[in-house]
Amino acid sequence: MSADGQVGIVLVSHSGPVAEAVAELARGLAAGGATAPVAAAGGTPAGGLGTSAELIARAAREVDGGAGVAVLVDLGSAVLTVKAMLAEGDELPDGARLVDAPFVEGAVAAVVTASAGGDLDAVAAAASEAYDYRKV
């Protein structure tokens, strides 16, 4: 269980190293105080490429402090697996939400916002707003 009051963040990628690295990047950029709980759920339990419902459920439980859990995903099966788990009803903690956001930029925005004490709506909005930042 995490510190009270902070939204937890779960990062779901097809790749274990990608999920871990994005989590580390987001924590690093949010630093300056205690950061919100972030857990990576990348790849399969055996370390291959893919999506694992088991790892996602475990990560969500790990970061759930009762203030909600924002789940960010990369592609294909990561998106579909989280949607199917939410439809299932009892696979993810109450207050878990799939956030529509670019994976890396959204993760940074989500962790910064959650670390600053933002609620789940604020975290989701910050992550989604990352779509509006044009690079060219």
């Binding site: 490429l49 419902a53 099966s77 579909l80 697996t81 949607k83 199917a84 299932e88």
Partner: protein, 204 residues
């Protein structure tokens, strides 16, 4: 009437067919996907068989719900949540009766297919599993054999299509000329259903 044992045998028959065709499915997936469809489904349906064996559910709906849950948690690729949703929603639509008619199954499968379309945001002609499942669910209202033929024809009809969903859609026009692996495996699911019905000694 189709009871829990029938649905159990359908899932076991699907596992056997997927096992037999795994290399072929992966070959199709290596052309336009990431070359894991056969092994992913093989792992998923093996888990389905094992779970059903361990604690055989008592109703048709419960068999499909358990099977769907196993697929979501063990497959590891997009076919897991898609097939998982198909079976769970079909099972849910069947309710908790001890047996169902073939007509009720056809209708419930239609609800399952609609849930898959919603989850993946795909429609007919996008070169996905729906291209086999949509015609199959409709034809099953007539007979199991008609369902099998419709699924097979639907899968073959994905060859000239350009993929608009999933990993293959990144290939654009290069996806044309290859059969969609998801449509091919969906045809196996329906074929296993027809086989199971035939082994019962008659069609609907």
């Amino acid at each position: 009437m189709l009871d829990a044992d029938f649905f159990h045998r359908w899932m076991t028959a699907t596992a056997a067919l997927v096992d037999r065709e795994a290399a072929h499915l992966t070959e199709l997936d290596s052309a336009i996907g990431d070359a894991d469809h056969g092994s992913n489904l093989q792992r998923g349906f093996a888990a389905v068989s094992a779970a059903l064996e361990k604690e055989p559910p008592q109703t048709p709906g419960a068999v499909l719900m358990l099977a769907g849950r196993q697929l979501i948690s063990t497959v590891g690729g997009a076919s897991g949540p898609l097939y998982g949703t198909l079976l769970r929603r079909t099972g849910k639509a069947l309710g908790d009766g001890a047996a169902v008619t073939p007509g009720e199954l056809a209708q419930a499968l239609g609800a399952g297919v609609a849930a898959v379309a919603q989850l993946g945001g795909a429609q007919a002609g996008d070169k996905t599993m729906l291209d086999a499942l949509l015609p199959a669910a409709e034809a099953l209202g007539t007979s199991f054999d008609a369902g099998r033929e419709a699924a097979r024809a639907g899968a073959v009809a994905t060859v000239p299509l350009q993929a608009r969903k999933g990993r293959a859609s990144y290939l654009g026009e290069r996806s044309i000329g290859h059969q969609d692996p998801g449509a091919a495996s969906s045809a196996l699911l329906i074929e296993a259903l027809a086989e199971t019905a035939a082994s019962d000694g008659g069609d609907a």
